[in-house]
């Protein structure tokens, strides 16, 4: 084994969580679905809540900006919605048979965020359009 491999690879998992089959199912499902869920939540605009920082106002679901309350913030709501849905999917995955979990392509974990970037850039088109009009 190379020096680097020796340095970077412990011989045994260092915690019981890391050896847990159920945690593996949860972690893979959470990370893979989280990317997709975030894009969907943002596209369909399903924040769990909306926050108006100027007046410290908070409502469940979506709320628009207004002259009285100032700008709204949706990102908190999108992020929490994503975490809740991805967690629920991850919990469901923990009861799936191990043979099925083994079939989850591991490359989805890192490839999906790369695929999500063009969508994210597209979703910000109002900003780029305003910038182009200057």
């Amino acid at each position: 084994m190379s020096t680097a491999a020796t340095a970077s690879k412990p011989m045994q998992p260092t915690s019981s969580l890391a050896m847990s089959r159920r945690f593996k199912a949860f972690a893979l499902t959470f990370s893979i679905s989280g990317t997709v869920v975030y894009c969907l939540v943002q596209y369909f605009n399903y924040p769990l809540f909306t926050y108006w920082p100027a007046v410290h106002r908070f409502v469940w679901g979506f709320g628009a900006s207004s002259a009285d309350d100032g700008p709204n913030m949706l990102w908190y709501g999108w992020s929490v919605t994503t975490i809740l849905i991805a967690s629920a999917l991850g919990m469901i995955a923990t009861v799936i048979p191990e043979q099925t979990v083994r079939k989850i392509p591991l490359w989805l974990v890192w490839l999906l965020p790369i695929f999500a970037i063009p969508y994210v850039i597209y979703s910000l088109m109002p900003w780029w359009t305003l910038a182009a009009r200057q």
Binding site: A4, S8, A18, P113, I117, V120
Partner: protein, 163 residues
């Protein structure tokens, strides 16, 4: 802030905390990314080689903790950004700057959801089945963290809290 410090100082201090956490995260994930992308096969002199030859697996939990802390502190100061910085930026027609900040917020969440799988892959670094996935997710998170850092830095140069 109770008359002890001004509002601007309060938010600037939190921004500073965000910066310190981000710097720690940047250093840890960059060490780890270099170790998996350009592994050192035999000891050699030189700062670059030593930078790549770190025990990368030991960084995983630290990276997760620093990412979450940086994320939460950034989320906290985001409220002040939305009122005190974004509105003046829009008024001054800094649309690309505003757009890149929104890009940053999306990337921050996309990075956050990767952490459980990232941590699992590194805590099972002895299993060759995970080698490619571990390398891929580590490099993606490293690129994300560098992007978040650079956008935040440029935005602060454009208009910081005390501007």
């Amino acid at each position: 802030m109770g008359g002890i410090i001004s509002t601007y100082t309060f938010w600037t201090l939190w921004l500073f905390v965000h910066l310190i956490l981000a710097l720690g995260l940047l250093g840890a994930i960059t060490h780890q990314a270099m170790a998996v992308a350009l592994p050192v096969h035999k000891p050699a002199p030189g700062i670059v080689t030593r930078f790549r030859a770190v025990p990368a697996a030991g960084y995983a939990t630290t990276v997760c903790v620093l990412y979450v802390l940086t994320f939460f502190v950034g989320s906290y100061i985001y409220t002040q950004y939305r009122i005190a910085i974004r509105i003046p930026l829009e008024s001054a027609h800094y649309y690309k700057t505003g757009g890149f900040f929104d890009f940053k917020e999306h990337v921050a969440t996309l990075g956050l959801v990767l952490l459980p799988a990232y941590w699992y892959f590194w805590k099972n670094a002895q299993k060759p089945d995970y080698d490619n996935a571990r390398k891929g997710v580590t490099l993606v998170i490293a690129v994300m963290v560098w992007f978040l850092f650079i956008v935040g830095h440029v935005l602060n140069n454009t208009r910081g809290f005390a501007s």
